[in-house]
Amino acid sequence: MAATLVLLETTATNLRSSSLPAVTAARELAKHHGGQVVGVVIGAGVGSAAADAARFVDKVLCFDHPGLASALAETWAPLLAAAVKEGGASALVASATSIGKDVLPRAAALLGAGMASDVVKVLSAKSFRRPTYAGNAITDVEVTTAVVVCTARQTEFAAAAPAASPGAVENRTVAAVGALGSEFVALHATQSARPDLAEARVVVSGGRGMKDKAGFKVLEELTDLLGGALGASRAACDAGMAPNDLQVGQTGKVVAPDLYFAVALSGAIQHLAGMKSSKVIVAINKDPEAPIFQVADYGLVATWEATLPALIAEMKKLKAG
């Protein structure tokens, strides 16, 4: 029986919203492959999370074991590969999160299956569209193996809505977990009350021109007034102005909000790769030749020192009514 498997990441109790685009991609794949969309939930004590995840798919396979608490590719990939084989699935998909990017290629290796990374569109049962060369090319690829594996770019697939009726949860026994000597030590999480970068409707990013952390504080005030997420260029992250996981770009986060502010960042191709699908782009830069103006809908040639305070004041006025 054909099926499309989708890796669903969860917290202890819930499906993570970052997996909802993968569900959408899985539903599109299932149209070509036929059969059910089957979610795979892996973790320790994830029974209720699996039940939550089941709202979105035809069925959930739940692998619950104390040794599976952290997402190690060494332990998760074999479970995914085995689930594909046992279920006779012909497609395996995940969102292109840091877990998806780490685990899915390893699962593809165990399956001897071809994989398409970071796809933005499902073209047919086996072909996909994906950006390459830092988004300077759009490339169509075809997987030639019986099983296809892909990761889906979160910003390009809508968040799936719950299915008409929730699927069943099938608990799978996990015989043994072999981590091959890989061991989770700690997660140093970036604490933030702001919305997640990949999901925010407004993103405010700063670059090297913000000069230091104090400069970023002003940006943060604007960000919070807009209810947005904070982003940064590589140069700003490298200089310690913002945490590394806020880097937007080819090798950082990909965002596509309704509104993107690029402040005091030049717009290097690697940065553009992560934000040029934003609906409306605003650039504030003192250099009229900065490449960011080539993608900006609205450009303001000025220093941030001269503009942000006025912008913040305007926002406050608007908010006040």
Partner: protein, 273 residues
């Protein structure tokens, strides 16, 4: 400590990409080491060095699957300080991530390194796959997207920091393993071999340039060319490229003269506020 560093050459990312007739035209480009692979070479060198200089222990072997000209990029890695190079004949048109990973597996089986250090992603194909595939084929642990690595004094394990979506994750991995590096791996204090340097180890904040002496020395270092057939890697590609196109262009924007005008336009024209 023997470290294998797989390296890819990529077209200069700063040059405008020419796409016509469904294909990328690279005849006029200049080639360079994939930046992440340059960082991987730097990482491997730091892992075989005492930061104070002089003392060095271990071997760094760089390897690429590419056309003959890739020797130029391999020589660059040798000039940075790598000890030996291997070039397996190949061409992007006849390669996919699987083929590269299986070729590398064959090299790992003959070279028997303690550690493979490589880029997390080649900035042309942007696949971010080969390291994970290689680890999967070898049945080795994988440590991906590293922003730091400390090798234990006994050389049997490494403690790593990984850049993940929500912050930084710390892991311990047993060697031999496959490590893929992210941008921040070249920060001053990101890399250390506890057998060679104490916790005070600190390098330059960037990858090293080849010195004149390094360039001279590189000319005498071994660069072995291998035919892929001798590694027994064959079969069909698992992923075929059908065509390349230009991405949709954004329509030209406007310059605004003031904050008031900007806010007005966002409010009434773009309706995003």
């Amino acid at each position: 400590m023997k470290i294998l560093v797989p390296c890819k050459r990529v077209p200069n990312p700063e040059l405008k990409l020419k796409i016509a007739g469904g294909a990328v035209e690279l005849a006029d480009t200049t080639w360079q080491l994939n930046p992440f692979d340059e960082y991987a070479v730097e990482t491997a060198l730091r892992l075989t060095e005492n930061y104070k200089g002089g003392e060095r222990s271990g071997e760094v072997v760089v390897a690429s699957i590419g056309p003959k000209d890739t020797a130029t990029q391999l020589r660059q890695a040798l000039a940075m300080g790598a000890d030996r190079a291997i070039l397996v004949a190949g061409d992007d048109a006849t390669l996919d991530a699987d083929r590269v990973a299986r070729t590398l597996r064959a090299l790992v089986e003959s070279e028997k390194p303690d550690l493979v250090v490589m880029g997390k992603q080649a900035v042309d194909g942007d696949d971010n796959q080969v390291g994970q595939l290689l680890a999967g084929y070898l049945g080795w642990p994988q440590a991906t997207f590293l922003s730091a690595i400390t090798l234990a004094a006994d050389g049997k394990s490494a403690t790593v920091c990984r850049e993940v979506d929500t912050g930084v994750e710390e892991r311990r991995v047993r060697l031999p393993a496959v490590a893929t590096v992210d941008l921040r791996i070249i920060n001053k204090k990101a890399v250390r071999n506890a057998a060679l340097s104490g916790p005070d180890a600190e390098w330059e904040d960037t990858q090293r340039l080849a010195s004149l002496k390094g360039i001279m020395a590189a000319k005498k270092k071994e660069l072995k060319e291998i035919a892929p057939e001798s590694l027994g890697v064959s079969g069909d590609l698992l992923v075929k490229t059908l065509r390349h196109d230009n991405p949709p262009a954004r329509k030209a924007g406007v310059k605004v003269a003031s904050v008031e005008e900007l806010v007005g336009k966002l409010h009434t024209e773009a309706k995003v506020m």
